[in-house]
């Protein structure tokens, strides 16, 4: 039973990180109909920025939790700027171009960013300091749930709650939903579509960077290539839950996390990644609109 619970918790942790990244995919797809291939690289850049910020901050002698939060904030801010810059450079000029064009541009951007970090930083794995402090009252449950996992779950939950409130409650959030429903109509009603798209990219990128910092601190090492696999898996989560749907992305993230965790624990850990891809292929073939997605014939 303990083994089951352990797998359950590790799946939950993993799933919440996938969900954080998947939110960016799903929001951008909902608004632009574009698979932002470079999103995984934003996550990677977020992790690197967080590492740099955390190391710089650790000289100030702040408590670890404060360092973690400040580093995460810095990573989110920079990742948001990266998201805006990428949208401006690689996607905005291609609005209205044939559908293949932005996808290839996104692939190019992904390769560009990976190699940029490879050159600017390093090709080796870099160790990431364990920023998440031990929580004393969790010690009896250490076999099942670690304090890092608790912090990850709490931060993720807070981020998702914040995002939901933002999309539901604010003017910009309403504009985002309007643009997702009908871009031309939103434009006619006076919504500044370019700004809304920019905000979407910034918010999605910030969430991905948050995921990057959390996972870096949890796993303990990062390198320039972590974005590709995480990006594909998060995309799987987004599609699984129904792309374009925010609760769907979260649900998809958890399902994917549990699938991987249980499959690795009970079947074989060698094929851990293959399970995710098989799940992706299976969903797209059986139910392309996902669990919570609207069924939309034109999309499939």
């Amino acid at each position: 039973m303990d083994y089951f619970l352990e797998l359950f918790v590790s799946g939950l942790t993993r799933g919440s990180i996938y969900a954080l990244i998947a939110l960016g995919y799903t929001m951008v797809y909902g608004i632009l109909g574009l698979i932002n291939f470079a999103h995984g690289e934003i996550y990677m850049i977020g992790a690197f920025t967080g590492l740099i910020a955390a190391t710089l901050l650790s000289w100030t002698g702040l408590p670890p939790l404060a360092v973690l939060l400040l580093a995460a904030a810095a990573a989110a801010a920079w990742a948001a700027a990266w998201g805006l810059a990428i949208e401006r450079a690689a996607y905005r000029p291609l609005r209205g171009a044939p559908r293949l064009a932005p996808l290839i541009s996104a692939i190019g951007m992904s390769i560009l960013l990976q190699n940029f970090v490879l050159i600017a930083q390093t090709s080796d794995f870099v160790s990431f300091p364990a920023l998440i402090p031990e929580i004393p009252w969790l010690a009896p449950f250490a076999a099942v749930i670690g304090s890092a996992e608790v912090v990850i779950l709490l931060v993720t939950a807070a981020a998702m709650l914040g995002l939901t409130l933002f999309v539901r409650g604010t003017r910009t959030g309403r504009a985002m939903r309007a643009v997702a429903q009908d871009r031309t109509m939103a434009l006619l009603c006076g919504v500044d579509v370019d700004r809304v798209i920019g905000v979407t990219f910034a918010v999605g990128s910030a969430l991905a960077a948050l995921g990057g910092v959390l996972i870096g601190s949890h796993v303990g090492q990062i390198n320039f290539a972590i974005g590709f696999l995480a990006g594909i898996k998060a995309f799987t989560a987004a599609v699984l839950g129904g792309i374009g749907s925010i609760p769907g992305a979260v649900l998809g993230g958890f399902i994917l996390g549990w699938t991987e965790s249980f499959a690795a624990g009970y079947i074989s850990s060698a094929y851990e990644d293959a399970f995710a891809f098989c799940l992706l292929v299976a969903i797209l073939i059986v139910r392309p609109s996902g669990i919570l997605g609207r069924s939309d014939a034109g999309r499939a």
């Binding site: 810059a85 293949l100 050159i119 300091p129 594909i232 992706l280």
Partner: protein, 463 residues
């Protein structure tokens, strides 16, 4: 930042920017460079070691990048200003994004430099003549028009092919073994590009897992040789057929998917194949791969390393030439036209009696067959196969070949494959920056010429 991109200059503005204007542009470029520097600051200027707690500052790099951004930005602004001044400024359509309005306007203007030549140059050229990347000066426009004009004439085109073939046949005899190896990999890239061209260019199915078919071909050869001692020539068609079988296996379930969903499924398929090769150690020997794959023999003769390399080069050349001919002939055949018809409009094509399933499966199987053959050549060239040779990046490279060459065009794809393999090879000193430049080139290619490159490509516009 977005402000200065959308500002439309007043009509009749001075053609040569005065010093005040120049200063304003320089100031804007300064701001752009500063923003860039801020964006790049953590990754470029700082390198940390969290365990040793050391921090290395590298301000120099940041300075160079900021200076480069400033120069490029200033050049871009001045050029755009010049373009705008020469044409009559008109308000761009609000739905299109103002920046595009300017760009279209700018390039449209360029072409009017030689209106008489233009129509014949690349207006009606179709696939045979590709429009140049982006003609910048009247002379460049004239030059590319002239090239386009020449390429139109069959005699010139045939002459070019003859010269190319003669060159390709003499090259290996006068260059080093290493060079011949490089040329062979270029020819393999040509075959791959042509194969993917059938799937993406003609049939319009975006495939991001093409390297999986190559992997299947390469492993088929290596395994058939290892277990059954099958020679190169027996394995060549066998591996091609196995790959084609994989193409069909992938095709059946994904036929009803389109556009980006199809792309992602093929990407997943490619990764699954690679992961299986990596983990099924009993069959594939895992990540360490299979070594000692033989080169092709010539009637049992001992060729030596150089001889075998040249021999493989000629085989690759013959196969690439065969592939090019096959695709060129297929393009205007019954099935080729069916592919194009399906690509343009599925419903209409089916109404005209085209069997969608069979036609699409044929494209996938044929494209996969080409990849399988290329995989055998690859295995024979390196005498070694491992899963790391068939990553997503390889698929992206082949896709870049097709996109750069112009989907559906045979000559373009051949040229693009040669450029994409040979150029990085001869830029070895800059090896570090190779992939960086490649990624940037993909983005630039799309941003600068997406409308032309993919003009008759499938799919609705991205909303």
């Amino acid at each position: 930042m977005s402000d200065d991109f959308v500002r439309s200059p007043p009509p009749g503005e001075n053609r040569n920017p005065g010093s005040g204007r120049l200063f304003a542009e320089a100031w804007n470029s300064c701001l752009t460079a500063a923003l860039f520097a801020l964006l790049l600051f953590p990754l470029v200027a700082v390198r940390v070691d969290a365990i040793e707690r050391t921090i290395a500052w590298r301000w120099g790099n940041l300075g160079w990048i900021a200076a480069a951004v400033f120069a490029i930005s200033l050049a871009w602004r001045l050029r755009r200003r010049e373009n705008v001044n020469r044409s009559t400024p008109s308000q761009p359509s609000p739905l299109d994004g103002e920046e595009n309005g300017f760009r279209e306007q700018g390039s449209a203007l360029r072409y009017t430099g030689s209106p008489a030549l233009e129509g014949r140059g690349w207006g009606a050229g179709g696939d045979a003549t590709k429009p140049p990347l982006s003609p910048r000066s009247p002379r460049a426009a004239w030059l590319s028009t002239a090239i386009g004009l020449c390429a139109e004439r069959p005699t010139v085109r045939h002459g070019a092919i003859v010269i190319g073939v003669a060159f390709a046949l003499i090259m290996p005899l006068i260059s080093s073994t290493y060079q011949v190896n490089v040329l062979t990999s270029a020819l393999i890239a040509v075959i791959l590009g042509l194969g993917l061209n059938i799937i993406v260019g003609l049939a319009g199915m975006l495939n991001l897992g093409y390297a999986a078919f190559t992997a299947v071909g390469a492993y088929a050869y290596a395994l058939l040789n290892l277990h059954f001692h099958l020679g190169f020539w027996a394995a060549l068609p066998a591996a091609g057929l196995v790959a084609a079988g994989f193409g069909l296996a992938l095709g059946f379930p994904v036929l009803r998917l389109r556009g980006d969903y199809l792309a992602i499924v093929t990407l997943g398929f490619g990764e699954i194949v690679r992961l299986v090769l990596e983990n099924w150690s009993a069959l594939t020997n895992g990540p360490s791969g299979i070594a000692n794959v033989p080169r092709p023999g010539l009637f049992g003769m001992e060729l030596g390393l150089r001889g075998a390399t040249i021999y493989l080069y000629f085989i690759s050349f013959a196969l690439a030439a065969g592939a090019a001919t096959a695709v060129a002939r297929l393009k205007n055949s019954r099935i080729g036209r069916a592919w194009v018809a399906l690509r343009e409009d599925e419903t209409a094509a089916e109404t005209m009696g085209i069997d969608r399933t069979r036609t699409k499966l044929a494209a996938l199987a044929l494209g996969a067959f080409f990849a399988g053959v290329a995989g055998v050549l690859f295995a024979a060239r390196t005498t070694f196969v491992n899963p790391a040779s068939f990553t997503f990046l390889e698929s992206a490279m082949v896709l870049a070949t097709v996109v750069l060459g112009g989907p559906g065009s045979v000559g373009g794809v051949v040229a693009a494959a040669l450029v994409l393999v040979l150029l990085p090879e001869y830029l070895r000193p800059f090896a570090q920056y190779r992939m960086l430049v490649f990624g940037a080139a993909l983005v630039l290619m799309m941003v600068l010429r997406a409308r032309r490159a993919l003009a008759n490509h499938p799919g609705r516009p991205a909303q």
